[in-house]
Symmetry: C2
Subunit: 686 residues, 2 copies
Amino acid sequence: MNLNNFFNPKSVVVIGASSDKNKVGFAVMSNLSGCRTSRQIYPVSISESEILGLKTYKSVSDVGLPIDLAIIAVRADIVPQILTECGKRGIKNVIIISAGFKEIGEAGKILENSVKEIANRFKIALLGPNCLGTIDSHADFNTSFGAKKPIRGNIAFLSQSGALGTSVLDMAIKEDVGFSKFISLGNEAQLSEIEFLEYLAVDDNTKAILIYLEKLSDGKRFMELVSEITKTKPVVVLKAGRSERGMEAVMSHTGSLAPADSVFSAALKQSGAIAVESIREFFNMAKLFQLGIMKPLKNLVILTNGGGPSVVTADLIDLSRSLSLVELSDSTKEALRKVLPSMAAVGNPVDIIGDALSSRYEDALKILVDEKGVDAIILMLTPQMMTKVEETAKLIVQYRSKKPIIPVFIGGPTIQAGLEYLKRNTLVNFNFPKDAVEALDNLALCHSREGGNPGKSSYTKSVSDKSSRVSVSKMMDFVEMTKILNEYNISLTGILVKEKTKLISAISKFGSGPYAMKVISNNIVHKTDAGAVRLNIKSIEEANTAWNSMEKRILKENPDARIEGFFIQRMGVGREVIIGMKRDATFGPTILFGLGGILAEAIKDTSLRIAPISKDEALQMMREIKGVSILNGMRGEKPVDFNALADIIANLSRLATEHPEIKEIDLNPVMVTNTEAVVVDARVMI
Amino acid sequence: MNLNNFFNPKSVVVIGASSDKNKVGFAVMSNLSGCRTSRQIYPVSISESEILGLKTYKSVSDVGLPIDLAIIAVRADIVPQILTECGKRGIKNVIIISAGFKEIGEAGKILENSVKEIANRFKIALLGPNCLGTIDSHADFNTSFGAKKPIRGNIAFLSQSGALGTSVLDMAIKEDVGFSKFISLGNEAQLSEIEFLEYLAVDDNTKAILIYLEKLSDGKRFMELVSEITKTKPVVVLKAGRSERGMEAVMSHTGSLAPADSVFSAALKQSGAIAVESIREFFNMAKLFQLGIMKPLKNLVILTNGGGPSVVTADLIDLSRSLSLVELSDSTKEALRKVLPSMAAVGNPVDIIGDALSSRYEDALKILVDEKGVDAIILMLTPQMMTKVEETAKLIVQYRSKKPIIPVFIGGPTIQAGLEYLKRNTLVNFNFPKDAVEALDNLALCHSREGGNPGKSSYTKSVSDKSSRVSVSKMMDFVEMTKILNEYNISLTGILVKEKTKLISAISKFGSGPYAMKVISNNIVHKTDAGAVRLNIKSIEEANTAWNSMEKRILKENPDARIEGFFIQRMGVGREVIIGMKRDATFGPTILFGLGGILAEAIKDTSLRIAPISKDEALQMMREIKGVSILNGMRGEKPVDFNALADIIANLSRLATEHPEIKEIDLNPVMVTNTEAVVVDARVMI
């Protein structure tokens, strides 16, 4: 497929062209004609003979010349017929603007399926239906009907919502944020975010990518792709349907189910994408990219003429997840002291105080751009009596090649001239310190996975994952389970005792206790609930008592239960953790790590990854839980054996990837000390 | 003191008036002359005979007429002399604009003290030094030198930073947010936020108050006042110095120490104030007030012409701390279905889809304004081809008397006409859904304390609190401690056993165990560390062993330790919690509640209040901890006896308030079941 024809075709046919200003067919024609004239535009209309000075055709078949792209803006019910004509005519790229498909319910879904089928039959690359088309600011091409054309820039914007697309593009015009390409994905009958991401990955005009997502067609492939792209271009994802009500709204609006938020967030993080939660954050990322900042800048210095606002900014940076204020070197402080008045503060924030002219900003800037260890300067300006707004803006343009400078001019009419100057130089201002800090923090938090290998399962496998979801789960037999876990070096080290008389000799084989004892029976799914697990058994006497009482209880509650024996393990002391695997319909196997115990359960203190994950990543995911200091060793304890835990996690990840028939694995509890990790109990669902 | 003369004096003298446009003395004159002319303005200048058409005087003494207010804008070193002249002249209100006082270090501090002393001697009400003066938009009065004058409004703005003041005021001019009064507090040599808050509390033109705070002169009085004000007017506080770096910056910038953030946050919450963390949030609160929204609106409905942006907004609301999307009634959905096209969504969000004209907005609005249970409508507009921006803005003006409507038009040039229309009607637009949701959420979270009685300690007491901080702490004797705790119904129910022979009879007095045993000795401060506490003792044998081994260990480590006996308690099973009291230098006694155990310690899961607190508030603070579901009963358990815990907390609060000599109390652990709460160990520092 040649997606290039969606952005820079030599010839375009518009089916449903119109000269009625209230019709989409007019807006498309008008936007197209407003672009570069070397492109051939052929309007097709049944009722009109001329539109915007161009002769019309009665049908696509009447156009006798080559056609790179067809844009369809006719009533939904005749779209299949028109698309078939395009197919017969040999057109390979089609955008269907028309609405009235999947989004309106069952009837529309049937119509959309037929459209998809026609496109596939004629090997047409199809964008839409129910979309706003595409914009390419470099090729000067605009098929959209809603938005004004953005200025030329480096950012590509993929949107599964037309309304969100037009809003952001309109906002970008006001704030002078430039875009390379805009793609409104619509219903994605055929082409989805995946194909366009593949295209944008190698697009030279695109240095950063923004995506608004409501649904995902292929989670695994999405992760692979984004992991690859984020090595060179930042990817920002605004994902809708993070909450229950949001999910309902997505459903009613697109008819699609969004992936569960926790899993999607894990997938984005692993892929090195920047996940944002609001249009405001989304747009502020675009502003950062417009400033040419595509890579993390963590170590910051604030240069300001206003004390209060700089203190608030210092707070925001200090309390951010990944940014910090640099401690300036003594020589830099000394140099600043020499050029600044005595009342100025030469710490960080560098406060050159309210009466600073632009020359004082320049004096400080000259010194700060050379300071080692500073990644960027946040240049704050408040409108005071003497403030030279435009001259200060000039300094940003002048010095930004030496060190990234982030302008934060705070005010209204008084600072306007400065903002205008920045605009003329394709720069933007952050209106509030928080906007800049949030964007920098988001960028710094994203980093492509190091050492990890992103999901390699093929699309076929991920389909098989999906199909496995619908069948009913059952628990794997104990012997089979220990066998498969052993294959991946996850051992429930213990002894299966089938007769009570052999209990003493079994226990004496272990070192000191305590021991865990559990009933092995295929009739019991939730062992703890059924009273079929005893922990902290300290002596042979206790083991005997436990045997009797467990047996009695189980047979009382379920006289037909078949007890195969008791599994005895040395528990190990130390901390209790949980390691789990669950297969997600969109992304495949996910791996969970968490602390054991009731408080951990209450506060849901877990971290999540999409498999496969490496040992390094396993180490990292353990460090993410809130209560990690317990594992690091509090009150003078030694840290637990993270390495042993990471081995179990990585092995579990491998097992999950190689055994698609397994739906769920719980290793719970796993006891970990500073020298070992022991899997005390496990459960596998197939 | 008559603070009114700072805002609406009949006559003003400006000392240091100038016609040099680079001087503050010119800016002040120019701002004053730009105001209502019925006011008498007397410029005082040594070198000039006329300024802005007004005859000058050589000194204050030369002005033979009554003077309500003096504004001083001369060199710092001659301020004492000028202020003395003002005093002698009988002027009772003075604003010192001049900088060069406390903020520059030791020399400035001495100068500032002398200024303060002069003001007190002559009974002058003094604002400043190092401030921007005052603005009153209703009296049309402006003494500030930096900012343009804001439009008339209902919001008062108190700022401890001049730069932050001018920035926000300038921004407000751009966005048409009106203010009633602005007060730049400067160094607060004499008058502070307290006196101006007292004044604003009863100011009829002020319906809401914004405060930027870096320091606090009297924490107790501040809480009292804010608690009183928030019963009728919302108070928003942007507090600087929340982080370590922010605190350092405040120090270098004002020479003052900000109160600890956790304590300050607790104080604000208890006072019913809205604490915000950024200028962005601060300003968005002002926008909400400009829309006339001063009271919590929690139950929302979204009306939109764009699917994607409304889904993102639904997510933000659903994930907010206190807002929710209303479930529309069936009759309302039915009514909406009748007037809207079939593709529209009549859930919440109500999506009237992209081709909606303003008439469709109106059809939906007519129905939604009558829906019971809806507190406010978020009216979202995205710029689509058919969108009628200005007409839709008109609907907001038209229907907002029936139900609060919050405009969220998202875009740039295309929506401009709508924003202009809103402005002309003194309304504002939220540029991003997140801005509106965040502001509504902040407002909804604030509520004046119900049933609680705000701190009543006098300023004198809070001074004595401060003085108690400097002395060295020592641990209170066990007998004395149990006595004082008992007086407040906090009993360490147990038996002090002085001889080992009496151990058996003591234990037999209790019901079933387990028991706690601890050494009573004034030589041991940290009992647990010294091995002087044993928990979970199950039998008399274990108690005997514990006695011997604790005695042995203590005497081994400290042969001179005097063991008075062992204190034996029935532990009670159940959950372990911690209740504590610590005296803060600014706010007095604070009460802490948290879960016991190592994970709770690791994640710092505690809640904090300023004493005194009522039992109701005690109940509420327990519900705030992250792991509260443990106390509510997980896995089918019964909830713990919250009532018994609340009694202990309220009693501890009373004890702390009535015993200023006590610095710290730890009740740790307190064991709580569903029927009782037992204080197992306590420690009191004096």
